[in-house]
Symmetry: C2
Subunit: 111 residues, 2 copies
């Protein structure tokens, strides 16, 4: 028998602001340029993805995503500077949390 | 708007071994000397509490609880040495995790 410590972290504002699911959703939107494509990759409905984005938008100073209709950059939905800041912050939290879990796991009985 | 980092940790063996709920259940059993009384305090059914205890017993080297029928100590259900070791370990994890969350929360935007 081998034990390990596991867990989850999330940022709370007025309500849940960003956990691993929302973080991955934003990453997918940034990669695909589309809420719809990102929702599909995450196995969630478009409505669910839209609601999650709206929850983040309503709690942050400025929206986390911006949508452009065509133009030089080809349109699509992308992270704003605010969105990039949150994604970076969460990613750093997550990395340090993983280190915490690995360090603490060493204190568990090996057998 | 004030943000904070929050989260949960749990110890995994073959399956979930101990999270905050099971930890509190063991604490209540130790205080009340009774799985039934502890279950009631936790707002769960006796069957649920029993199943959680069995899950922990089956994953640890030796059972986490022992039940004595009367005798000098008045009987009742109490933590074994193995059970006490796990409760102490989880409590230490939880304390360091709280410190982690507080330290990381300082890195979030104050407004």
């Amino acid at each position: 028998m081998k034990f390990k410590l596991n867990g989850r972290i999330w940022i709370e504002g007025e309500e849940r602001f960003m956990g691993i699911g929302r973080f991955q959703l934003l990453e997918q939107i940034e990669q695909t340029g589309s809420i719809s494509a990102a929702a599909k990759k995450m196995g969630m409905s478009y409505k669910r993805a839209w609601d999650l984005v709206q929850s983040m938008n309503s709690q942050s100073e400025t929206p986390v995503l911006s949508t452009q209709a065509g133009g030089e950059r080809g349109g699509g939905t992308h992270l704003t500077e605010e969105g990039k800041r949150w994604v970076t912050l969460y990613s750093q939290f997550q990395q340090r949390f993983q280190e915490f879990l690995e360090t603490e796991t060493l204190k568990l009985p090996a057998e």
